[in-house]
Symmetry: C2
Subunit: 304 residues, 2 copies
């Protein structure tokens, strides 16, 4: 009997690749898949196995789905007309860990489909960025049945610094992630609003950053993103285009609950303006360019 957990990971982007590395480091027998050949070749060189998922899925004790959104998660889990998904391939009793930021309602729907196939489903969105993924230090907001937590345990141990147990109802992990994204999105747009407003009042962005980080106006997002504006560096650590998606999830859930969310709605408009004006692939701090443009202000790095 093989005592190494056999863990699949589907999606080898900036988050999934690091998670696969963390699984390997923790001694898992890692079965790794991506639609792109390059990251698959790299992770195989690192010690993972790959190949035809239709043959290998039955070997997995647990599969981590680390793709971009709900549509991709559904494709991996449920398949497409011409090919089966994990629900048709994995052994009953195996566990799915769904890590993309998706709507709570999607998490409930996918859980129901997995349960019908005899699979355990952990609604487990992740937080922390690529560096923490590679270090096995993610924050994971997880909800699911006791058996889902049981089956997910070895992989969670390898990937997470902290797992917030949001209870036995799938959807609550995604809801908690939505609450976090609501705040981060608002705070990033507020950072941009504040730094450019300061500029309109004759205050240098670097000085504004220095003062605010030592005052009551500070936030994690301000401390993390304001330096990008101060340095005029919009190389994407996290891109503008994440926010129309994530704040869209928040506002869809809010609308369904008849919950008015005016700050979230205002922040979304700013990110839409950033994306719509061609900044979608830049770092999300580039929402400051929308504010600057609307007020005729020059940011650091402008005109260089």
């Amino acid at each position: 009997m093989n005592s190494r957990p056999r863990t699949g990971i589907i999606g080898l982007g900036s988050m999934g690749y690091g998670m696969a590395q963390s699984l390997l480091r923790a001694g898992h027998d890692v079965l790794a898949f991506d639609i792109a050949a390059e990251p698959v070749a790299r992770i195989v060189a690192d010690g993972a196995r790959s190949g035809d998922i239709e043959h290998l899925a039955a070997e997995m004790d647990c599969a981590v789905i680390a793709v971009l959104n709900a549509a991709q998660t559904a494709t991996v889990l449920l398949g497409q007309p011409d090919r089966p998904g994990l629900v048709g391939l994995m052994r009953p009793g195996a566990t799915i860990i769904s890590c993309a930021t998706i709507a709570p309602e999607d998490a409930r729907r996918l859980h129901a489909r997995a349960a019908k196939a005899g699979l355990h489903y952990l609604d487990a969105p992740i937080s922390g960025g690529a560096g923490k993924a590679a270090a096995g230090k993610l924050s994971i907001m997880a909800a699911g049945k006791v058996q889902a937590f049981g089956g997910a345990h070895p992989a969670l141990d390898a990937m997470a610094e902290v797992v917030f147990d949001m209870g036995r109802e799938p959807g609550r992990g995604s809801a908690m992630k939505a609450v976090n994204q609501m705040l981060v999105g608002i705070h990033i747009s507020a950072m941009a609003e504040a730094i450019t407003f300061a500029l309109s009042q004759g205050i240098d962005p670097a000085r504004c950053h220095e003062v605010i980080t030592r005052c009551a106006g500070t936030s994690w997002a301000f401390e993390n993103r304001a330096p990008h504006v101060v340095g005029g560096d919009y190389h994407p650590a996290s891109a503008v285009d994440i926010w129309p998606k994530d704040l869209g999830i928040v506002l869809d859930a809010a609308r369904a609950a008849r919950f008015p969310a005016p700050l979230t709605a205002a922040a979304l408009q700013q990110f839409l303006a950033a994306s719509g004006s061609g900044l979608g692939g830049e770092d999300d701090a580039a929402v400051a360019k929308v504010y600057a443009r609307n007020a005729g202000l020059q940011l650091p790095g402008d005109g260089q």
Copy 2:
């Protein structure tokens, strides 16, 4: 020659009283004034002097104006039809420290009037709350001429943990304070939006607080105010009604600069709804009650 700095303080509210105590503790000869008799009697018992400001103002090396807003600051500085203000009473060469949160434009106007009377004027709004005022550990965002900083130095040393030098142009201190208030106001409303949205998704406020303070969604305001919502305690540490005033200052300055500030505007509407529905005197975390009411949700403490 008396080597103790003779420092006036006008306004003995929750901030001014603590500042007067800090001045006394630092060995200043404190001349204290308020329209209410009770705090004057208390600070005199603590060792300050008081009496008729029209006779005592000429003794002051420096006067700290710690009243509520621009209108009160102007009354103290410029007087009223029936009584002179500090500009007609203090010796030329003495220094004014203006601490209320006022518009940058008001700071420039008051500076000009003080300068005409031969007084130095430091535009020096404060941050930190009553506890820090009493401990001499305020943050002060100060702008003014070199002579104003020179004359204010002994009082600033007694009252502040940190003085941010915002440069030689009066108005820049108030502008920096406005930027900070913009962020704090947005973040408090965002805290309320997030905790009540979480509730709409079945997540307990205490659990939401616990998770967010360990995630990227956190802010100083969230960490400071969310416990009030979780505990259902709206005893005012800082009242709702501060925000229509302070965000009004921000939006007036923004409008004058042709600077669109959509998140600030959205946050102001929420505080106006709180104030307009009778919550103006409650702690500013009570903006959560607006969100809860609009979504038909019960907050901790509701119905008790």
